[in-house]
């Protein structure tokens, strides 16, 4: 059980890193882009906007701590 938890913790740390909100934000932004594209909107502008917002918010949270 301890090894399983350590294995899970390793992959969480490897993929998600210090701020889980960045990973969640990227998944949501790409999901929304794919949904817009499926609806016929070429939403190429959404991921770049999400990158700007996610980096700014994550930095803001980090320096306020």
């Amino acid at each position: 059980m301890r090894r399983l938890r350590a294995f899970g913790a390793f992959w969480y740390d490897f993929v998600v890193g210090d701020d889980w909100r960045i990973a969640l934000g990227v998944v949501l932004a790409l999901g929304a882009t794919a949904a817009l594209v499926a609806a016929g909107v070429n939403a190429w502008w959404l991921p770049p906007a999400a990158v700007v917002a996610l980096l700014a918010l994550s930095l803001h949270r980090a320096v306020r701590r």
Partner: protein, 243 residues
């Protein structure tokens, strides 16, 4: 661009792995540290050998979405750290201090071996350090190589970086403190974010204006964003300290 990106990314990881191996080898037992390094390289080769061909079987659209998304997450985390360090909100990654901490921990740990390994602590610490840093290198090589349809150049970039760092490390037998690690992290974070953004957006089915040329705008735009954030936070930090 592919060679340079993979080279710098792998050099950063190699410096971190080298610091751990040097600390363990110097303070504990060189033979066990090198055995751990060798075992980690074999485990890495087996992992890449197993996963590499599987990645080639995934359709390009899905691959770009998943891999681009992962690169984007990695890149943003690297940029976040680099910006915080550049603006003075986080300590600079000091390889000498890291080396000293590793040596102190290694000297304090108990002794004992298992089988052909004389010092189990030295073996496991080297193995862990090289495997974890190497896994990031392998991920970058496989994803950049597959997406750019040029795995050999990506492998060459990684091999050159590891050879240069290992060569310098063996020559000086000291942690590579003079490597501008934060600047390199800044550059790698920018490249990972830019390529991750480009590929993942294409993976969703959206089309960039200008097609592939868009990446030439995205890279400097991400660099400018990160540099702007660092400048803003540095100014806030200075104002806060003065006020």
């Amino acid at each position: 661009m592919l060679f340079a990106t993979v080279f710098v990314a792998c050099a950063v990881e190699a410096v971190e792995a080298l610091t751990i191996v040097l600390a363990v080898g110097t303070s504990r037992h060189w033979g066990s540290a090198l055995q751990g390094t060798g075992a980690a390289l074999v485990a890495l080769a087996a992992t890449v050998g197993a996963l590499g061909p599987a990645i080639g079987l995934i359709p390009l659209g899905a691959l770009r979405l998943v891999v681009g998304g992962l690169l984007l997450v990695f890149g943003l985390q690297w940029l976040r750290k680099a910006v915080l360090r550049a603006s003075g909100h986080k300590e600079l990654h000091d390889e000498e201090a890291r080396y000293a901490r590793q040596v102190a921990a290694a000297e304090a740990a108990g002794t004992g071996g298992r089988g052909v390994v004389r010092d189990w602590y030295a073996f496991t610490l080297s193995f862990k350090g090289v495997f974890l840093e190497g896994l990031e290198v392998a991920f970058i090589v496989v994803t950049f190589g597959t997406n750019q349809h040029d795995v050999p150049v990506a492998v060459l970039g990684a091999a050159a970086a590891v050879a240069v760092v290992a060569g310098v490390g063996v020559a000086v037998r000291a942690p590579l403190a003079k490597v501008p690690e934060n600047t390199m992290k800044f550059a790698v974070g920018t490249m990972l974010t830019a390529f991750g953004l480009f590929w993942s957006t294409e993976g969703t089915g959206a089309d960039w204006p200008g097609g592939d040329v868009a990446v030439l705008v995205i890279v400097p735009a991400v660099a400018a964003l990160a540099a702007g954030c660092a400048a803003l936070l540095r100014r806030d930090n200075t104002t806060g300290a003065a006020g």
